[in-house]
């Protein structure tokens, strides 16, 4: 590793600790590397702009965000909530079970955990507080179930990974389905145990004769994942186009059918989408610049050679990486981990003969769990901020759920077929 590269690493860490935004810290570290190495600084612009220009798949990100923000404007979250309520409300810990099911459904429409927490998650927290659940538990289950967002397709982190690893986005999306359902089942079991032990309430059944009406109110919103995923897998749309069509469907539903979307709301949704997209995409631009330097130094290849020389079994590598990422996830931001550290590992993954689709699903699962781990778990902070529930109470209630998610993660490490079975059956990978 050369002097300029050490400068890059040191400067990136120093700027990050000084609370310079990650996107700027990455671009500045790359600039410093080029200056110190006597290279043309214009390369930063070259790398950032031309890579962005060539990354058509990234355009799906603002559109997925647009669709999720539109869903959250009107009553669609409430409609889904009511339908899931009629379905699993009478189980032990009814409302918490409802929350997990709502997250499964919403995750098949949105690709981000934060959108899930801020939309349907907020609806369930309010209902649970009203029903007398401990508010810390309410926020903890919503945070844990929101992690389904990036695992069940569509998924924004998977779009990023597909680009970096040059892996099939369709295969990645399919690879997340079984792990997502597994997570949901694990969380429902934890809820059931907790609810039985602490005697959480059971929901009353829906009034006789209303069940049909409750389900019919939710039918139109449920059409969205059908359009989105059906469109992608039938080959009718590219994932980018499918994201736009899904946003159109949601817009028509909110605007024309439910009449909940006025000009003011629409402007708010568009502006929020612009901001959320720019925040994440600027970090991606910073990562393009850093990744250029990593490639120029061949750090990734050196790592692959070094690990290859250790004679490590793939399973030992996967366990080590997963433990390391869980620890790092408690400190570092999820997008930074995915964009900066994952690309460094990719040549090693290839050298060890690990399927890139499998590695992508596992590592995204891992990074997503990090969103719920104190002290840095983003979802906990988002929920604490929008509900005014103290972080301390959420932390106290979340460890059992986090443990269940970590157990699922290591189950995936032990049994790769849980990820690879569905994409293989549908012919996406051999």
């Amino acid at each position: 590793m050369s002097g300029p590269f050490l400068l890059l690493v040191a400067l990136f860490l120093a700027l990050a600790i000084a609370r310079v935004p990650m996107a700027f810290a990455m671009i500045c570290a790359a600039i410093a590397y080029l200056v110190a190495g006597g290279k043309d600084v214009g390369l930063v612009a070259d790398q950032v702009l031309n890579t962005l220009y060539a990354s058509y798949v990234l355009i799906a990100i603002p559109l997925f965000m647009l669709a999720a923000n539109l869903m959250n404007v009107g009553s669609m979250s409430d409609r889904l909530f009511d339908a899931c309520h009629a379905f699993v409300g009478r189980m032990k810990g009814g409302l918490a079970q409802v929350d997990v099911l709502v997250s499964v459904v919403f995750s098949s429409m949105s690709g981000s955990a934060v959108a899930d927490a801020a939309g349907p998650g907020l609806v369930t927290i309010r209902a649970m507080e009203k029903a007398g659940y401990p508010r810390g538990f309410a926020a903890a289950i919503v945070a844990a179930s929101s992690t389904l967002g990036p695992i069940i397709p569509p998924s924004i982190p998977m779009v990023l990974y597909a680009l970096m690893a040059n892996a099939s986005l369709g295969a990645l999306f399919l690879g997340g389905v079984v792990p997502g359902l597994l997570m949901a089942a694990a969380m429902m079991i934890v809820v059931w145990i907790t609810a039985t032990r602490r005697d959480f309430p059971v929901e009353p059944p829906p009034a006789p004769g209303t069940r049909g009406r409750i389900f019919s109110r939710a039918v139109l919103p449920l059409g969205m994942p059908v359009i989105l995923l059906g469109g992608i897998y039938s080959g009718a749309f590219t994932p980018t186009e499918a994201s736009a069509v899904a946003a159109l469907y949601t817009m028509l539903l909110a605007g024309l059918v439910y009449r909940e979307l006025g000009a003011r709301e629409l402007y708010g949704v568009l502006l929020t989408t612009a901001k959320q997209s720019a925040v994440i995409l600027l970090m991606i631009c910073g990562a393009f610049a850093i990744n250029y330097c990593v490639a120029a130094e061949q750090v990734d290849k050196a790592l692959a050679r070094w690990i290859g020389g250790l004679g490590l079994a793939p399973i030992a590598f996967l366990v080590t990486v997963n433990v390391l990422f869980l620890l790092l996830g408690a400190l570092l931001d999820a997008t930074t981990l995915l964009l900066v550290l994952v690309p460094v590992l990719l040549p090693t993954v290839a050298a060890l003969g690990i399927d890139p689709v499998y590695f992508g699903v596992v590592i995204i699962f891992n990074i997503t769990i990090g969103l719920t781990i104190p002290p840095h778990g983003l979802l906990l902070f988002v929920l604490a901020a929008i509900t005014n529930i103290p972080l301390r109470e959420i932390f106290r209630e979340s460890w059992g759920l986090v443990a269940a998610l970590v157990a699922c993660l290591f189950l995936l490490v032990a049994l790769p077929d849980l990820v690879l079975w569905l994409p293989r059956v549908l012919g996406y990978i051999r």
Binding site: I17, G42, A45, D46, Y56, A244, L271, S277, M283, L331
Partner: protein, 153 residues
């Protein structure tokens, strides 16, 4: 500073309009293929152009420093005085690097004046002009942030 506030509002309207335009262009591409029966040659290229402008326009003129993702685990643990000093040093250092690179970045973009996009035949330097604008605004915002930290010290 009334003009600044109107300028900010105008910039936000442009950002929202870019999202709307991106949305419509992608739909036009789909409609071209399925309704008109022939793919539109320009829709994918125009979508990429709108996308790049959306990212850097919003980053330059709409996003405030607070709205970015930052790493605050260590920062929050420091005593307030040290925090302010560190914050100012980091922001100044980042601003210095951005302004150092700015002429070279502008040079690189200007150098592309002969290149044109394949379908629309738009000049590549115009298309990429949003990036130097973003770098300059990021530098200015870091300086304004330093000044704010200095005043509140």
């Amino acid at each position: 500073m009334k003009w600044l506030r109107s300028a900010e509002r105008a910039a936000a309207i442009v950002a929202a309009a870019l999202v709307a335009a991106l949305f419509l262009v992608l739909l036009a591409g789909v409609a071209g293929r399925y309704v008109l029966g022939r793919p539109l040659a320009w829709s994918d290229e125009l979508a990429v152009v709108l996308f790049i402008w959306l990212v850097f326009w919003t980053g330059a003129f709409v996003l405030s420093m607070r709205e970015h993702v930052a790493f605050d685990v260590v920062y929050e643990l420091l005593p307030p005085r040290l925090r302010a000093v560190l914050g100012m040093a980091g922001a100044l250092c980042a601003a210095a690097l951005l302004f150092w690179a700015l002429p070279k970045i502008a040079d690189y973009v200007a150098f592309l004046w002969r290149e044109r996009t394949p379908v629309l035949q738009w000049r590549q330097d115009f298309l990429y002009a949003c990036f130097p604008a973003f770098v300059a605004m990021a530098g200015l915002r870091l300086l304004a942030y330093t000044a704010a930290l200095f005043r509140s010290r």
